[in-house]
Amino acid sequence: MTDYQVVIVGGGATGVGILRDLSMRGISALLLEQGDLAHGTSSRFHGLLHSGARYAVKDPVSAAECIDENVILKQIAAHCISDTGGWFVQSSEDAQSYVEQWIRGCAYAHIPIREISLADAYLKEPLMSKDVLRVFEVPDATVDGFKLVWANAKSAKRYGGDYKTYHQVERLILDNKRIVGVAAKNLVNGEEIMVHCEVVVNAGGAWASQIVGTIGVPLDVICDKGTLLAFNQRLFQRVINRLHPPSDGDIFVPHETITILGTTSEIVDSPQENQPREPEVKRLLAMGEKLLPNLMGHRVIRAFAGVRPLHREDSEVPGSVEEGREVSRTFVLIDHEVHDGVEGLISIVGGKFTTYRLMAEKVSDWVAEKLGNTAPCSTAKENLMSEIPQDLRKQALRLLPCVAAEKMLERLGDDAEEVLTKIMDDPRKGQMLCECEMVSVAEVEKVASDEDSHHLADIRRKTRLGMGTCQGAFCTYRVLPLLGLENKKFDPLQDELKRFINQRWKGIRPVLWGQQLRETELTRAIYASILQLNENPG
């Protein structure tokens, strides 16, 4: 007897994409995620919806996949994407021969490019370095990873798909070389559960080898850490790439009011090693200067790092294991029956955020065939989010400042109705709890009461609370009472608060100077002195 036909391990973009695809084909599936959705690499990345141009020279397969998916996602996930466009910029240090190769590569992959005059370019991007020779426009865009992941999960749910967060898969269960289920632990209450199924999909990203390792199946995944810097302003209006062979610190991606510069590439031992370090930060700043002079004069609000899962078999180029960027960015499907004699288990490794839907389609095709389901993939045709009703939007605009209203609608979709009702009942709940990111008291209250919010960090990911320039000094304090009201759900408050502050601190430590340092003094004063959350021997 099975509980579900399929269990998906991992709730990043790939996992939720598979959940949606299978659910739309009428296959019953459960997704298990050890943290909150997008707790892995899918919320610790650059947020660039690639046009493919970055891979046009070295990796034509990836380039072609990217441009196809780019077009599809702009259609089906418009609310998660900001169609900023992107530029590739040749600086005086960048070789002309590479530019020629790149132009040919883009043509080959059908990536539309258009050269822009320098005069026009400086008009549009006044901060861009004067040391630029040529500028090309490409259809890059920016994507909010967290929103996209949740939109997939919600869409899957409408088709009957299930997911459980804070459930860590501890073991795959075998019956005579055939997968029959998984054993998982609820990390919130410690409960052990068993789920029976016919197929297990391993979408564990950088953790993928640990998951199949529980039954002794080998899977060589390289963990390639990349560090990113967030600046407190929108330095550029569009994605700016340097036109040279992909390297460190050569892409700026604007998101709402901030800009993210990345990335670095360093092989690490495990996906947990995602602490950004000061030397990486300095390297990024030095490289970024090439496109934006006096970069150090701009305020960095945090550094963060994600870990790319790369499949080792792709990396037969000598020396490429040490240099993560050399490994192909396309993905591989591993049918463990073929490789290891274990039936009903498939791993999906590698790829990019941009290609998550395509990866999900390939996995789902394989699963469907295995289960004898003949429904075709329909994920490219249907929008992820149902349209926001006009009257809901009007109501939001009446109750909240315009920007705050739009941001909330994008974050919550239909669920915004609950928040608006709260504000109508008590106008004070329309006050901004997080002034940097424009999150209202009512919205935080709603998100805190969601069944799948267990930590302050979950609320942060869902609302962006505490991600702004104040580093959460004020809004973290203001969110406490709301957590307090959610009886028993959150840990004793002070521990929760300390853990949250320490998490944020991790990203601030490597960029602790200037205004950031002043904010740190204030934050420490508030929590150590005014609230006295640490030991006072006095």
């Binding site: 004070r428 601190w505 340092l517 005014i530």
Partner: protein, 406 residues
Amino acid sequence: MWDGIIVGGGLAGLLAGIRAAERGKRILMISEGVGSLTYSSGVIDFGNVAQLVRQDKHPYALLGESIVRNGADYFQAHFPDYHGKWREVQTVLTPLGSPRKAGFIPNGLNAQVLHDAHLIVLMAPEGMKDFFPKVTKANLERAYPQCVVKVHPFRLDAFESWHTLGKPVNGMDYTKYWRSASGTGALKGVVNSLNQELDEARSDPADPGKSVVVFPGLASAFSNSIKEVLSDLPFPVVEMTAFPPSASGHKLYDALKETFGALGGELMVGTGVKQVEIQGKRCHKIIVKSKGKDSEFSARSFVLATGGVFGGGIEVTPEASKEMVFGLPLYVPDEWTNSEFLGDQPYARIGIEVDRELRPIDSKLNEVILENVQVIGRMIAHWDPWVEHCGGGVSLASGWFAGETM
């Protein structure tokens, strides 16, 4: 020619100015901003003095315990609105209603009475920003398990239009209102109606007796009118400390300024010192840019009280750290941070190394750099107010010492 110029008018600078002016010196104080007191709760902590005077290079160790004590005594003599005793620990309530330890506290904040209370009435001003009655109630219940805690909400006509619009009223707004003539009347009304309610409760034979009222957003210190209203009440009132901005901290700032002015001190706020003139080991002049033109001021001695990183006296970039007025060398720790945010953070010990006279020194050569400059408050190196809990204490001790010796 001034006797002394103090650059930076926070707690340390103002206390130095008060002491020097009292000694008959002609003092000019130049301050870019208003300092950190408005952010602070107005509480003054000394930390574990006995231990810190033995901690290598700590400002307390340089000054010695008797000077730390002189600073404290001096402050207390001039500001009777503060309560506390040398080496005695007071208890105040945090903005979340938990008890915390404190050194000197504005009168009205002493939470000691809560230990013997049986009933706590928590006043809950309608819509007060950053005050959370339910959390505060729960924290009070946890800290004082012998007590029943009742929340007493009230709203004021004066803020009616704010409430309708959903506009926040912060603690400073409430305090300001209570201090106005109509506000004092309203406060009487609020406490009288509370008193009646408590009277009824008192006549109830089941009533446990001793009641204490906990009141956020009040700040009675330095306000005779509020003190008068409270003095008539048959129950004690305990104020809570505030989340920034804090009226109590702000009132202390005002009182310090007023005292300095009354003693003949001259204060310029809103302009920063950008440049100085030095000959040999002495500073002669400072140059201030104000409204587009430069003004020069000369003095016999100078005090640097620019508040460290938070006050703006130190700027740190990825490449270098800089003291902004005299360009003095800084102590910069090699390791900059630790993983525990509220634990020891090396960066916090950045500052200027000084000798026992608080003059800046070159620690390698063990030589005084500027003979007529003293460094005080958060500008001094080798202390971390957030783990040592001695922010106010270091400012008072070093400020008093500079005022005494300049």
